[in-house]
């Protein structure tokens, strides 16, 4: 996070920057995942090991492992005469070991120097105090994981500062800082005889920082006058990470006049379907020719941007559809269910398509909306994806984090997935996993808290290192009207639960709000994750939620509020906030508060966590929809837990709705 070595600086990273850093000096290891959530708001999750480390990560040997969240807000952005100013909350949710608040200002001088000075509370006021003997209240609760609002800006006040100098060597920065943290909080985790204690000889810390490229940065530093440290920082930004477009074929031209007016319409549609499939990787679901309109129903499983699939389809229509048909309509489908449509006049389009700002001009002359439940007089394209079984063999990885005995367990292997769309909206899907390299058999930490053990017995599932069925479901998606969607799903939803799930969603493509309800009848699966079941004492069989979804339109943020009954029978709400970038990157966080007490939940007090989705498309110079998804909970509990169902309606169909198509509108004519 923005800082010199051990003290914070003012200012922020570039908006959207996602980074991982790992630093170590003596027996202090800090791993931090951070995200610049808004131009002025920054959040971080820190996982720290403190103690007598024998080796990195494995056989941890650390006395304690600590999880904590930080939040920073920029009050002032730097200007010619005004410094940047930031207020920060360190370990605002956690055990409180790193608990501190600060107000810091930084200013660049002659582009080479950057000076920083700040006031600290909590851990940042354990030395260099200018206000002394003030009391700081104890942190909140004995189970950790709560917001420490009662401590904010309370207690002694310390001062800190530092300088950074950009050396003549490109990318190399020299740093010095005067720290107000005496590390007494970490000292508590060492025995008196330990050689690894945090005694300080000097409050000045020194360091060198080298930026190799925009994604990688390394630092070495000398801290407390007696310890050497090293830090590696890897960063990615959805706003700037791109592998280029040089292996993606250029689109076909838009034809003012079609290739030939004399062809039979059946041949014309066959040509369109073949070219769309072979050259553009777009599936045709069906087509129709009205008096003055050509309607093409497509399903895009190739381009990250649906706008791009629409653009390419329009170009192909222009090549073959007779010139007397003036209007083109492209209908975006998912699982062969029509979701949204775009209609445009071909002559108006051909006038502007090569002009500057063609994309914006196209938006003005297009009509985008929710598709009707069914299109009449459609010739359905058979032998497309219907009745075909799509097999995928791919590697998988799974990690189990934050066990103090061993913070990282891994499971690598081969995953086989088969899916078949039997008819529009009706899909059968199954996944089998075969581990190859795994340490999951060593996981030993078991249940906790006093709720029914609906999640904390996960160890028994993870210990299963033979072939297992991850998922085996039959799902039916359907539209009850233009804007009301339904889902019925049965089978083995996830490694821990099977059952029956039904959902309904009101989802108007033109509106930012959507409302849904879900009810599930679930049974716990046997630990072997084959076809059998087991029972969990005290767990109700029925759970469900009412959900509200809001596409805020603010920096691509989506919010979701769920209210209902969770797996363990507790009732309450989950708030989820996600930033969805137009190119497929997602970053978000969630928390759940229910009527289960913090004591019943156990360590961590309540369910919370964060997640991200990284699309491979950003790293390879051609189109792919493959993504890396990770959901991280600092502490897994039984309270606030939902059954994990793949393909809830909003998740399944929101990519095709109007606001999402418009998010990547710039790619319309690519």
């Amino acid at each position: 996070m923005p800082g010199i070595l051990d003290i914070p600086t003012a200012g922020s990273f570039n908006d959207g920057e996602f980074s991982f850093s790992s630093s170590r000096f003596k027996a202090n290891l800090r791993n931090t995942l951070s995200f610049q959530a808004l131009p002025r708001v920054f959040g971080a999750f820190r996982y720290s090991g403190i103690g007598d480390s024998k080796s990195y990560y494995y056989h941890s040997g650390y006395t304690t492992w600590d999880r904590s969240f930080d939040l920073r807000v920029d009050i002032l952005k730097e200007k010619s005469l005004i410094p940047a100013m930031t207020v920060g909350f360190q370990d605002i949710i956690g055990t409180g070991n790193f608990s501190a608040e600060y107000l810091v200002a930084s200013k660049s001088i002659f582009n080479k120097l950057r000076a920083t000075a700040g006031l600290g509370w909590g851990r940042l006021a354990t030395q260099n105090q200018i206000v002394k003997n003030k009391e700081r209240p104890s942190d909140g609760g004995s189970f950790g994981g709560l917001l420490r609002y009662n401590q904010l800006f309370r207690g002694n006040v310390g001062v800190f500062g530092g300088m950074e100098y950009m050396t003549p060597l490109d990318g190399l920065k020299a740093k010095v800082e005067y720290s107000s943290d005496n590390y007494q909080a970490d000292q508590n985790f060492f025995s008196d005889t330990s050689n690894n204690s945090f005694s300080q000889n000097n409050k000045l810390n020194y360091g060198l920082d080298y930026t190799l490229n925009e994604n990688l940065n390394v630092s070495s530093y000398y801290i407390h006058g007696n310890k050497l440290g090293l830090q590696v920082n890897i960063s990615l930004n959805p706003n700037s990470t791109s592998a280029g477009d040089y292996l993606e074929p250029a689109p076909q031209p838009f034809y003012s006049l079609p290739y030939s007016e004399k062809l039979d319409m059946k041949i014309i549609w066959e040509k369109i379907i073949t070219i769309l499939k072979k050259e553009e990787n777009i599936n045709t679901i069906g087509y129709a020719l009205e008096e003055n309109e050509a309607i093409l129903l497509i399903e895009n499983n190739y381009y990250v941007s649906d706008a791009q699939a629409i653009g390419r389809s329009l170009r192909i229509l222009s090549r073959y559809i007779p010139s007397n048909i003036l209007n083109f309509t492209i209908v975006l489908n998912k699982l062969e269910i029509p979701i949204s449509f775009i209609s445009v006049n071909r002559n108006e389009l051909s006038e502007i398509i090569d002009a500057p700002n063609a994309e914006l001009l196209t938006k003005k002359i297009s009509h985008i909306g929710s598709s009707p439940r069914q299109y009449q007089n459609i010739t359905l394209q058979k032998n497309n994806i219907n009745n075909k079984i799509d097999f995928t063999a791919s590697p998988y990885y799974q990690i189990h984090l934050f066990d103090p005995d061993q913070p990282l367990y891994y499971d690598l292997g081969l995953k086989l997935t088969a899916a078949s769309l039997l008819k529009p909206g009706l899909i059968v899907r199954g996944t089998v996993k075969e581990p190859i390299l795994t340490t999951f058999g060593d996981i030993s930490r078991g249940p906790k808290g006093s709720l029914p053990k609906v999640r904390t017995n996960i160890k028994n599932y993870l210990n299963e290192t033979n072939s297992r069925i991850e998922e085996l479901t039959v799902s039916s998606y359907f539209k009850l009207s233009d804007n009301i969607f339904g889902r019925l799903q049965t089978g083995y939803f996830e490694p821990m639960y099977a059952g029956l799930s039904s959902e309904i969603l009101y989802f108007d493509s033109q509106k930012p709000l959507a409302f849904g309800a879900e009810i599930n009848y679930v049974k716990p699966r046997e630990y072997e994750q084959l076809l059998g079941f087991r029972t969990v004492t005290g767990m109700p069989k029925v759970n469900g939620h009412f959900s509200t979804y809001w596409d805020t339109g603010y920096y691509n943020y989506h919010a979701q509020l769920d209210y209902g009954k969770y797996l363990a029978g507790d009732k309450g709400s989950t708030v989820t906030v996600t930033r969805k970038f137009g190119n497929g990157w997602d970053f978000g966080g969630f928390f759940t508060l229910t009527d289960a007490s913090f004591a019943d939940f156990g360590e961590g007090s309540f369910d919370k966590g964060f997640f991200f989705k990284l699309p491979f498309n950003a790293f390879v110079p051609y189109e792919t929809k493959y993504t890396l998804n990770e959901r991280i909970r600092p502490i897994l509990g039984d309270g606030g837990s939902k059954v994990n169902i793949k393909g809830r309606i909003y998740e399944m169909f929101s990519p095709q709705r109007k606001s999402n198509i418009e998010k990547s509108w710039a790619r319309l004519w690519r």
Partner: protein
């Protein structure tokens, strides 16, 4: 050794599994091979002679960049309202308005729009004596997160010298070389144009990306 083998298998599978169908996997492999070959052969530029283009009954342009695309010959595939789309055999394309590149595809530039005055000598053939010295323009790019990004610049054109250029092998002729300096608060670049007496621009070096990618454009045949 067994572990290394298993890790290798997983990495290979990870590489090929970015799409589900066999057809897509095959295409991805071909693309990776194309990329490796392109990097290996980046210095092999072909010199084109008059004989090579004589029997081609279309205008021809040559595009070279300082990025991945080293050399491409392009044919016009459509012309509408003064905008001409050119396509290369390896599927890169550009749109030209006069001599100016207004859109690119497959050039790692992501230029989707260039707005400037329609009576500019860079768009409309104008005798050199009537070339204005200053102009402004707006470039629009697609950002990696699929947004529009506009770049406004002011440009100043100046005569450099008379210079002989060779567009085709053994085909040299005299032109006037002009330098155009364009900038705003954050960006600076220089374009170059080589025009004959009537103001037709036979050759140019144009800025097409904020990553400082330049396209060298030569008209091989009108």
């Amino acid at each position: 050794m067994e572990i290394v083998k298993k890790v290798f298998i997983i990495l290979v599978l990870l590489l090929i599994s970015s799409c589900s169908s066999i057809e897509n996997k095959r295409k991805n492999f071909q693309k990776i091979i194309a990329l490796v070959s392109a990097n290996a052969n980046e210095t092999d530029l072909i010199e084109i002679s008059k004989d090579d283009v004589e029997n081609i009954n279309y205008p021809l342009i040559q595009v070279r960049t300082n990025d991945v695309l080293k050399h491409a010959v392009m044919l016009p595939i459509s012309n509408r309202n003064g905008y001409t789309n050119f396509l290369s055999g390896s599927n890169q394309s550009i749109t030209l308005h006069g001599t100016m590149i207004t859109k690119t595809n497959g050039l790692n530039a992501n230029l989707i729009s260039l707005e400037m005055k329609l009576n500019s000598p860079l768009i409309k053939k104008t005798p050199l004596t009537k070339w204005p010295l200053t102009s402004s323009r707006k470039y629009t790019f697609i950002t990696p997160d699929h947004r529009f990004r506009d770049v406004f610049v002011n440009c100043v054109l100046e005569f450099v010298k008379n210079e002989k250029i060779t567009t085709l092998k053994n085909n040299s002729f005299s032109t006037s070389k002009y330098k155009e300096v364009c900038n705003n608060k954050n960006i600076y670049f220089e374009n170059f144009y080589w025009a004959d007496k009537e103001g037709f621009i036979w050759k140019s070096k144009q800025w097409i990306s904020e990553k400082q990618v330049f396209a060298n454009l030569t008209v091989l045949k009108l």
